[in-house]
């Protein structure tokens, strides 16, 4: 009972009402910050607990003992894998390699995507000519392109990275373009009346107006680049394997403990990347508008 008290207070306490001031509170008192952290952690813990419960139920209640190897319960799966240094070492190395591919791919997608959108924003013609390519890139299923990419670029780092770029590019382009076009007609009139050059308009009006949308794009692209690298690893097996490559190996060998651990690591990796960019989005965009969070 006593362990639950702070949780209940955290959820129903006065901090909820005072939320517009939470910025100051966070800097001022550690206690409120701690409570806010707890309030945020609670739903996540509940979700993890829910997954574990379903997992146990399937292992013990659904599967007959003879087929339990198909889904060993969490403590057995993780216990067997995490204690095994020979398994975990390569797995973490593979995850590291995939992370590098995903981040390089994401970085390229960000630069190319923003550049592409800026060019499109400069004239109606440029947009009409360039936008269809972006849409085509988005609508072709990535699995249809994978064989071609493999044949053309080989089956190693470059090919994996290109898959990441292709999959992460569209949200960068579309969100940036939306942002660049979001300034009001009156704001454009203001720039016209002050005889602003095209560059001034881009740098002082369109681009700053696009910052929130660019960060939304970045958040989406970061999640997609993780998916991209897993898909690419899965199909491009040349050279040192990424985590997606190991997923395939474990599947073929029916190493369920290793497979479940690798899937979990991959999911965690995706969550971490997404959370970092979501936090970055919130922090930067909040500051951009003078300290108010959205």
């Amino acid at each position: 009972m006593s362990t639950e008290t702070p949780v209940i207070m955290g959820r129903s306490g006065p901090t909820e009402i005072d939320s517009p001031r939470s910025d100051h509170d966070r800097r001022g008192g550690g206690r409120v910050w701690w409570r806010a952290g707890l309030r945020r952690a609670l739903p996540v813990s509940a979700a993890v607990g829910g997954i574990a419960a379903v997992w146990y139920a399937v292992s013990y209640l659904v599967l007959p003992a003879g087929q339990r190897f198909l889904l060993p319960p969490p403590h057995e799966a993780y216990g067997a894998a995490l204690g095994n240094a020979q398994l975990m070492g390569p797995m973490l190395q593979a995850l590291g390699r995939s992370a590098v591919v995903a981040l390089v791919g994401l970085a390229i997608a960000v630069v190319v995507g923003i550049g592409y959108a800026v060019v499109m924003s400069q004239s109606g013609w440029a947009e009409r000519i360039l936008y269809p390519y972006a849409v085509i890139l988005q609508t072709i299923p990535i699995l249809a392109l994978v064989p071609l990419i493999g044949i053309w670029l080989g089956y190693a780092f470059t090919a994996r990275m290109v898959v990441c770029v292709i999959i992460a590019l569209f949200p960068m382009i579309s969100n940036t373009l939306f942002g660049l076009q979001s300034a009001s007609a009156a704001a454009h009139d203001l720039f016209t009346l002050n005889k602003a050059s095209r560059l001034q308009r881009l740098v002082k009006l369109q681009f700053p107006a696009a910052v929130p949308s660019i960060f939304t794009g970045l958040r989406n692209a970061s999640g997609l680049s993780v998916i991209g690298v897993i898909v690419a690893d899965f199909y491009f097996q040349q050279g040192a394997p990424g985590i997606g490559g190991l997923l395939r190996t474990y599947t073929l060998r029916l190493q369920m403990e290793a497979l479940l651990t690798a899937v979990t690591l991959t999911a965690l990796f995706g969550v971490v990347v997404f959370s970092i960019f979501a936090a970055l989005d919130k922090a930067v965009v909040g500051r951009w508008y003078g300290g108010h969070t959205r």
Partner: protein
């Protein structure tokens, strides 16, 4: 090539027809000198705003001529049109930035303009933290920072609440007395039109024509109580009557 017409802003026989065929304004002539504050009232959709966009050069005339004799023209929009990511001071500074005024100079002038509209102490605030009235004050400061000879106002107080609106009118006529620019102010409030101006122009419904010109004799600065004076009521009555006849 075009001969200049007399005055800071002069329109001679101006007609605007849009590509859709709509005639927004028809055969409008007017002339503003320094010290003139002209308000234009008319039913909504009568082309008042178009008139302002023509005067500012944002739209081109279909027929007639416009001439502007002003080193600097400013324009105040219907809403404050502030850049949300800039502080109040940096919003006012924008004009200097676009015109390549050196940093120190433009910052000093922006500060002066903010002081003038009563926003000392709010320089660092972003627009989201300011009330509607304060945002409009920033917008006025931005319009005045370049010391315009011609100031154009497109229903700037229309979205404000009544109390703030009256306050802004009082402030604006003080600023006008101080700066003595030539002002052209669009509104659909008769009392606002009379209170602010040296002359009220009444426009008809679309296509907009000027159907009455009513001089306002009161001296500046004008106290807020002027609005309750019988002479004031007589003038608003004349403007309303002219509006009623032609809408």
């Amino acid at each position: 090539m075009t001969t200049t017409l007399p005055g800071t802003l002069a329109l001679a026989g101006v007609t605007k027809r849009f590509e859709t065929g709509t005639v927004a304004v028809r055969d409008v002539s007017l002339s503003l000198r320094p010290g003139d504050f002209v308000t234009v009232v008319g039913p909504s959709g009568c082309g008042k705003s178009t008139l302002l966009r023509l005067a500012s050069g944002l739209e081109q005339v279909t027929e007639g001529r416009i001439s502007v004799e002003a080193a600097s023209t400013s324009y105040v929009f219907q809403d404050a049109t502030l850049l949300e990511w800039r502080s109040a001071l940096r919003n006012v500074e924008l004009v200097g930035e676009l015109r390549k005024v050196p940093r120190q100079e433009r910052r000093r002038r922006a500060q002066e303009a903010l002081d003038l509209v009563g926003l000392s102490g709010f320089e660092a605030q972003h627009p989201r933290r300011l009330s509607g009235g304060m945002r409009m004050r920033v917008s006025l400061a931005r319009a005045l920072v370049a010391d315009p000879q011609l100031a154009l106002f497109d229903e700037p107080f229309g979205a404000l609440d009544e109390i703030t609106r009256l306050q802004m009118q009082t402030e604006l006529q003080k600023l006008f007395e101080l700066k003595r620019f030539a002002g052209l102010f669009i509104t659909h409030s008769v009392s606002e039109a009379v209170y602010l101006s040296t002359r009220v122009l009444v426009m008809s419904g679309r296509p907009g024509r000027i159907v009455a010109e009513i001089p306002v004799p009161f001296a500046y600065p004008r106290p807020p109580e002027l609005r309750y004076a019988p002479e004031f009521a007589a003038l608003t009555g004349r403007v309303s009557a002219a509006l009623g006849e032609h809408s």
